[in-house]
Symmetry: C2
Subunit: 459 residues, 2 copies
Amino acid sequence: MASQREAAIQYVRKNREKFLTSLKEFLQIPSVSNDPLHSSDIRQAANWMAAQLHSLRMQRVQIYPTMRHPIVYGEYLGVPGAPTVLLYGHYDVQPAEPLDQWKTSPFDPTIRGENLYARGVSDMKGQILALLKAVEALSKNGGIPVNLKWLIEGEEEIGSMNLGAFIANHKDLLACDFAFNPDAGMLGEDKPTITYALRGLAYLELRVYGPPTELHSGVFGGVVHNPAIVLAELIAGMHDSQGRVTLPGFYDKVRELTPEERAELARIPSDEKYYLEKTGVPALYGEQGFTPNELTGARPTLDVNGMISGFTGSGTKTIIPAWAMAKISCRLVPDQRPHDVYEQMKRYLEEKAPKTVRWELVEMHGGNPSISERNHPAVQAFAQALETVWGVRPYFKREGGSIPVVSLVQDLLGVESVIGGFGLPDDNFHGPNEKLHLPTWYKGIEALVHFFLNLTELR
Amino acid sequence: MASQREAAIQYVRKNREKFLTSLKEFLQIPSVSNDPLHSSDIRQAANWMAAQLHSLRMQRVQIYPTMRHPIVYGEYLGVPGAPTVLLYGHYDVQPAEPLDQWKTSPFDPTIRGENLYARGVSDMKGQILALLKAVEALSKNGGIPVNLKWLIEGEEEIGSMNLGAFIANHKDLLACDFAFNPDAGMLGEDKPTITYALRGLAYLELRVYGPPTELHSGVFGGVVHNPAIVLAELIAGMHDSQGRVTLPGFYDKVRELTPEERAELARIPSDEKYYLEKTGVPALYGEQGFTPNELTGARPTLDVNGMISGFTGSGTKTIIPAWAMAKISCRLVPDQRPHDVYEQMKRYLEEKAPKTVRWELVEMHGGNPSISERNHPAVQAFAQALETVWGVRPYFKREGGSIPVVSLVQDLLGVESVIGGFGLPDDNFHGPNEKLHLPTWYKGIEALVHFFLNLTELR
């Protein structure tokens, strides 16, 4: 087995340029899932993914249609008795706007220094390629040592709304020992990381309606409650002076941190200075009484993701707007639930919104928070692989982002997920100039080779 | 003189269709002043205006360039000893956005019922046409009885920024006994109105900067102060629970209403019900202790004219925005000054803005409030003309909007303005589906004929 390991690792090192070419090809497909204008790109990305699985000689490769974007499946079940791993990924990406903030075109992958820049390169086309290429390296050097099932969706960036039904309807097809999900990153290029908890998400849209049509602010200014100001007042009331969210009952189901877990999280070397540097803000903010790691991983939040009202072009227009809208989302921790937050927001608005306006609250999408076992043997196999490549014991962390599939897999298939990928905190995924650190990515492919081989030793 | 009066009025009544055709021609020129894409339309509107003055055989007709949009001048000085009236107008219009809310194209004038719909039809191309056609009626029926100077600018909707310098540099050219300004409307179609006070304007843009680039709300949510929320908190703090503006010193120079003036304003029949109907809001709002007429005419306001941050498209995007912006304007009453409000806002922000963000305040444009003498003989001549046509004594009101030229004329030429036009409160000028009530407009042309003739009796 040692010689297969060595041969596969050598293969990875020799084929870096080829792997990179393949990744660029994938990145050139603008598979933006939230925009109907990109639906042919979404289909192209699904086809590309299926072709890759074919070329790895996966079986039962199929593109399953859903109500919106298709799911790509493929499997290799050639090692009876070996563990079966469900490999999860998503081929869709976030929109690239604002385009004017990209130094190079988001769908024209460009290398600058040690990084490759493109929309989706870190989140998560680079991670999918790492899986494909690790499996290729094993396949061409002694054979794939475990059973694999690929589940690659196209709706992760818009809430994975059809994934739950697909998993529920294909429980036998997807039956496995555990899932591997490389959609969470590392704490730093020398800090391999395994994520054991994820925050959930409740995404709402609040619309405040004033006059039926915009009004002249001179003629009517003074007797009309400005809907932009009402929205501002409502948003301002959603936090108290301690940085806590004021929605009624918001903290009721929040699982408080134990002293042991706080000590474990304190091992993570990302302190206030780290977050200042990564965010570029003049000073940090947050709920009082918690460290930055606790705030981003183990505490819930409320953010405004977007807000618009009235005239926003250049120059001036003297109007009272007819309406104002805010996109508001909460990151959730165990055991909060997205629909509860919608109800809490509704209650807040019923209490606070003035009678001078009308309002509407729309529940957009959500995902439950999740928390996993750290002593699962597959988690240990991955931890060992990371230590082999990086030479340091990995960090165990709670991730601030949401991965809806992790709770779906837990709820519907009854299996845990091993969560870890090779993105870095400054990759700017979801923002402009998203990047992937190539030296880390190459190491990641090697770590996946070790991971699959380590798994056979669990037999 | 009585026969000239009768002949001119008959001329107006016979030529309504021709006047309407001429108005439509003017309205088809999309002379939007705030958008560089419309600069050739602006030139076309100025040329059209100059051609009209030529055809009325005005002298010294000239298009004066300014730093931005030209000013059209023309004069008739054929009645030595008669009063000289400065006729003010603006040929520019507000932008037509949001276009999807117009029932018919804003630059394709369309009659529905008794109204003509088009951008600028009420504010104020219709008013300029009324002046042109009243002068035409007199010119063709015995001659123009007074001396006229036309001052038609193209920057009223963007703050008349070059008008002050032009007036200051052409004091002799513009010397007159008083100005007539038809840029203020009537209280209702049976309520001819003379406006004796105008509110001023201070227009500011507040920009709040958070992280240098938008961030993933999962990874960084919890430690970053969201700039949209900070902006909302700052805006929310600009009013107290009594509806008063909290900027430090905001009310210091506000001239309080006397009991006599409050009684005069109480004659105006637009009550709470009127404003509810005209605005379409579910309930009125405003500084406590004042009537709607006082609030819109004699009290200062603070409104958000527009606001934007982050992702505002359809669907969801889970980001912390990099910045948030609001366009904020205050309507001012005597003796507030626009630059003082900028300073007050700056002081407010210095006190209230948190250290977690950076901010910037931009002074856009402004205009002083003004208040005029009600017993000026020219005001009385206009009041008499209105009573002749409508059969009721006109109302004297304070107008909520801003007409920068009124204070410029007062300050630089030392003359008062007679302020009154034939727009109605529901004309929706500055908003979509701007309209002009044609029966009122035709009456207005007749009233202007009487006005010019009445002026000769002041000799």
